[in-house]
Symmetry: C2
Subunit: 477 residues, 2 copies
C-alpha cells in the first residue's frame, strides 16, 4: 500500500499546478510518450484506444448522414496550396516542407498537409460535372502537421490525428445546412459519449478559419476555467470553388459553382476529457468512451476459488468492455493503477464476498461502493455505468454553469476575467478593434457568438457603442 | 442499353492487355483517382471501403492475439534512421526528406517514415525495463512513403496505407513464434475473407527485409500468372535491440537484449483482389469483403408497388450489407455499373416477379440467375453468398495449381518461365549467384522457400550443385 500511495502521489494536485497535473496525468495514465521528434508525441495503447472509440462512434454518426470515407495524399504541391489566397496566408507559415525525394531534390517542394481543403478541391474539380454528382460528402481519418513552436500533449502538437470532412453542394443553403448539421453531430457526440456539454456558436471573423465564409465551433469549459475549442465546422461558400474552378451544370444546363464545407475534430478532444473529468488521482473516463469499462479485481486471489469467482463475473458481463486484473500485484496497487487510468468501475470480489454471495462495485468518479448480489451483478453494472455517465455530464454542466458569468461594464468584465476563471458572456459591437483591445487587456478571446443569444445589455462591453451580438469570452487553450 | 454496353466496353479485355485491363478496372470501378502529387493516388469511397473492411477483420484478428494499437510520429530524425546499418542502407535511397518547418530550415532533416522500426525501437528502449514489460505487441494503421520512380495503383505508390506491427520479446523463440503466428493470420485472413490462397514461405537472404534476420512472406498468383507478395513478417533477432540498446532485466536480474519482429500488410492487397478475381466486366468482390454485398434493382420501377417490393427485400436482409438502386438510370445501366464495381449479388424484382411472389438473384462471378420465392429470399441470399465465396476461393486455387510448374533442368526452367505464366517450383543451392543469374536470364525472382517443401530433384536448377531447398520462382509485381 505504501507503493500504491506513491503511485498516486506522483500526480501533482490540480490546485497546486493545473498544468503540471495535466502532464502528470497524460504520462502516468500512459496515454502518451514523448518521442525523439520535437513536438510529436506517441499515442500509447491507453491513449489510442480512446481515439479508436471516438472514431468508431463518430464514424457511425457521419455515415448515418450519407458521409463516405476516402483517403487523400499527405503531400500538397506548393502551387496547389497557393491557389486560395486567405488559406495559404493562414497556413504557409506553419507547414513542414519536403524538398528532397530519394536522392534527388524536388522540382517543386511539397508541404505535408496541415489540412486538405486544397487537395479535396483539386479532386472535386476533376470528378464533379453535373448536378447528379452532388452532393459529395467525403471524410478522411488521418494525421496532419502544423509546425508549432510550443506544444502540449493532445492540445497542440506538431502532428496530430483528426478527421476532416469536405463536402460540395449545389446551393449555398445546402452547404449551410450541412455545416450546422455536422456541428450538431459533434455537440451530440461530446454530450452523449464524452459527457461534455458544449456551447455551440459562430466564430467572429477574426477567429474564423483561413478561407472560410463562416466558422462554427463547439466550446467546452475545462476544470481550470479555461475554454477549449473542441471541433469546428466551416462554410466556404463558393470561394474555394472559384479559386479551383469547381463547376457543375445544373438542371437548366447552366454552369454553376459548387458551395463547400469542411469540419474537423481531433485528438485534442482527449485533452478535453482529461481536463473536464479528471481528478487528483488521475483520469476519469466516461463509461461510454472508456476502452475498459470495468476491471474485476480479486481480493486475496491466492485463496481457493477467488480467481474462478472473478473470472465468472467477467464472463457474465456480456456487452461490457471488461478485463480481469489477475496479476501478482497487491490489490491496493491495482486500485491505484486503475484510478490513474480512469477505468469507470472496478468490481472487487474476495473470500468474504463469496461467502455472502456478493461483490462490491466501486465507482471511479464518486468512489461510491455498492454491494451487489452475484445474481444481479450484470444488470447492476449496466445501471451503475449509466448513472455514472449521466452524473458526469450533469457535474460538468454544473461546473460550466457555475463558471459562466455576465458582464455589462468593461471594469466588471476585466475584473471577472482576472478573478473568476470561466466564460464571460458580454455584448459586442462587432468591431475587431474591441476584440484586439480585450485580448491585449485581459488575454481573453472571443470564443463564439452563441446560437442561444441573450440580451445582456444594449452596448458593447468594451467600447460602449451599440451592441450587435452576444459573445462568450474566455481564456483558452 | 447501348450506353450500358459502352460502359463495359470501356474496359480493355484482359487477354488483349492485362496491364491496361487493370488500370481500366481501378479507374472505372472508381477505386482510385490520380492526384496532382506524382505517384500518390486518391482512394475513392469504393476503394477505401474495401480497405475499411480489411482493417476491421485484420484488426480483430490481431487483437485476439493480444496486439494493441498505438500511433507513432510520421517523421524520423536522420540520426535515428541511421542507427541500424542494413536498415538505413535499404531505405535511405527512397525516402522523402523534410528540410524546413514553418519559416525555418531544420537543424536536422527528418524523413517521412518509409516504415517505423527505428521509431518503435527508440520507444521500446524508453519503456522496456524488466521482463514484466514483455512482450510488447504493438501495431499501427498509418500511411508510409517510399519515393518510387514508377508507380501503379495499389501495387506501388509513393504513399500507401498499411498496418505495421512491431513486437518485442524476452527470447528468440518467442520472437520466432510471433513472426510465424502473424504470417499465419495473414494467410488465414486472405483465404477466408479475400478468397485468395497463399503460398507461405521464407524469403532468401537476397530478398529479405533490410535489417531482418529472416523474412517470411505470403505469395499469391495473379490471373496473368505473375506473383504478388501480399504480406510479410520479419524476425529481427536482437539486431535492432543491440543497435538501439533495448535491454531488460530478466528474472535472475541479468540484463538481456529483447528479440523483435515486425509484420505488415498494405493496400497492395486490393491489387491482389482485383487481379485474382476480376474479369472483363470489371471487379469481382468476394462477399466477405465487399462493402456492398447485395444490390437490389427494381425492374420497371415506375410501375405500382415495385419500389415498395424492392425496399421490402432490402429491409428483410438483416445482417447483409445491402443497398437499393432506385436511381432513374435504366436497369441495364445499373447492372453494368454494379458489374464494374464487383458487387457480389444483385436481386432483381419487377411486376412479373411480384405476381409470381419471387425475385431473381444474380451472381456477379458466374452470372448464374437463381429464381427464389420472396419468403425464403433472406436465407437464400446468405446461402448464395457463402457458395460464391467458397467457389471463388476454389477457382483461385485451381488457377494457381494449374499455373504452378516444376523444373529440374535449367533449359526446362527457362522455357517454363518464358512460355507458361505462373510459379515454377525448382531446387536451389542456396547461393545468391544463382538467384542473380536466374533473374538476369529470365527476369524471374525467388518468391519464397515454402513451408511445404517437395524434393523435386537433388541439384540446383541453375548451377547443378547439390540442392539445399526448394524455391517458388516467378515473375512478380
Amino acid at each position: 500500500m505504501a507503493q500504491a500511495k506513491k503511485l498516486v502521489e506522483a500526480i501533482t494536485p490540480m490546485e497546486e499546478d493545473f498544468s503540471r497535473w495535466y502532464t502528470d496525468v497524460v504520462k502516468k495514465a500512459e496515454l502518451i510518450e514523448y518521442s525523439s521528434v520535437k513536438g510529436c508525441m506517441i499515442l500509447r495503447p491507453n491513449g489510442y484506444a480512446i481515439w479508436e472509440n471516438v472514431q468508431k462512434e463518430l464514424d457511425r454518426m457521419f455515415k448515418e448522414t450519407g458521409v463516405e470515407n476516402v483517403y487523400m495524399p499527405m503531400f500538397i504541391p506548393e502551387s496547389l496550396l497557393q491557389k486560395e489566397k486567405d488559406h495559404v496566408e493562414g497556413f504557409a507559415p506553419e507547414v513542414a516542407w519536403v524538398t528532397q525525394g530519394g536522392l534527388e531534390p524536388l522540382a517543386e517542394r511539397l508541404c505535408v498537409r496541415p489540412t486538405s481543403e486544397t487537395l479535396f478541391c483539386d479532386f472535386y474539380s476533376n470528378i464533379i460535372q453535373s448536378y447528379r454528382d452532388l452532393p459529395k460528402l467525403y471524410n478522411q481519418w488521418c494525421s496532419v502537421v502544423r509546425w508549432e513552436k510550443t506544444t502540449r500533449p493532445f492540445l497542440r502538437s506538431t502532428e496530430f490525428l483528426w478527421q476532416e470532412g469536405h463536402t460540395a453542394h449545389a446551393t449555398a443553403e445546402d452547404a449551410e445546412e450541412r455545416t450546422i448539421q455536422m456541428l450538431d453531430i459533434y455537440a451530440e457526440f461530446c454530450e452523449k459519449f464524452l459527457a461534455i456539454p458544449m456551447v455551440k456558436g459562430k466564430k467572429t471573423d477574426k477567429e474564423k478559419f483561413a478561407g472560410a465564409e463562416s466558422t462554427y465551433t463547439i466550446e467546452a469549459l475545462m476544470h481550470d476555467g479555461k475554454a477549449l475549442q473542441s471541433g469546428t465546422s466551416h462554410n466556404f461558400g463558393d470561394g474555394f470553388a472559384k479559386a479551383f474552378d469547381i463547376q457543375y451544370t445544373d438542371k437548366e444546363n447552366k454552369l454553376q459553382y459548387v458551395h463547400q464545407t469542411s469540419w474537423g475534430l481531433s485528438t485534442r478532444i482527449i485533452g478535453a476529457i482529461i481536463m473536464v473529468h479528471g481528478d487528483d488521482s488521475g483520469l476519469v473516463l466516461p463509461p461510454m468512451i472508456a476502452p475498459v469499462q470495468v476491471m474485476v479485481v480479486p481480493i486475496a486471489q491466492h485463496k481457493e476459488g477467488v480467481l474462478e469467482a472473478a473470472a465468472k463475473i467477467k464472463a457474465g458481463l456480456a456487452g461490457v468492455r471488461v478485463a480481469l486484473d489477475d496479476s501478482d500485484k497487491s490489490p491496493g496497487w491495482k486500485f491505484s493503477e486503475q484510478e490513474i487510468r480512469g477505468i469507470p468501475l472496478r468490481i472487487e470480489i474476495g473470500p468474504k464476498d463469496m461467502e455472502a454471495g456478493q461483490a462490491v462495485i466501486v465507482r471511479r468518479d464518486t468512489r461510491e461502493k455498492i454491494t451487489v448480489s452475484l445474481d444481479s451483478i450484470a444488470a447492476k453494472t449496466l445501471e451503475v455505468m449509466e448513472t455514472m455517465q449521466n452524473e458526469m455530464l450533469e457535474r460538468a454542466r454544473k461546473h460550466r454553469d457555475e463558471h459562466t458569468f455576465s458582464a455589462v461594464t468593461y471594469e466588471e468584465f476585466k475584473d471577472t476575467i482576472a478573478n473568476r476563471p470561466g466564460f464571460v458572456k458580454a455584448m459586442w459591437c462587432g468591431e475587431e478593434t474591441c476584440e484586439l483591445k480585450i485580448k491585449e487587456d485581459t488575454t481573453a478571446t472571443s470564443r463564439c457568438m452563441p446560437f442561444e443569444e441573450e440580451n445582456i445589455s444594449d452596448t458593447c462591453v468594451c467600447c460602449g457603442k451599440p451592441a450587435k451580438t452576444m459573445v462568450y469570452w474566455g481564456k483558452a487553450y
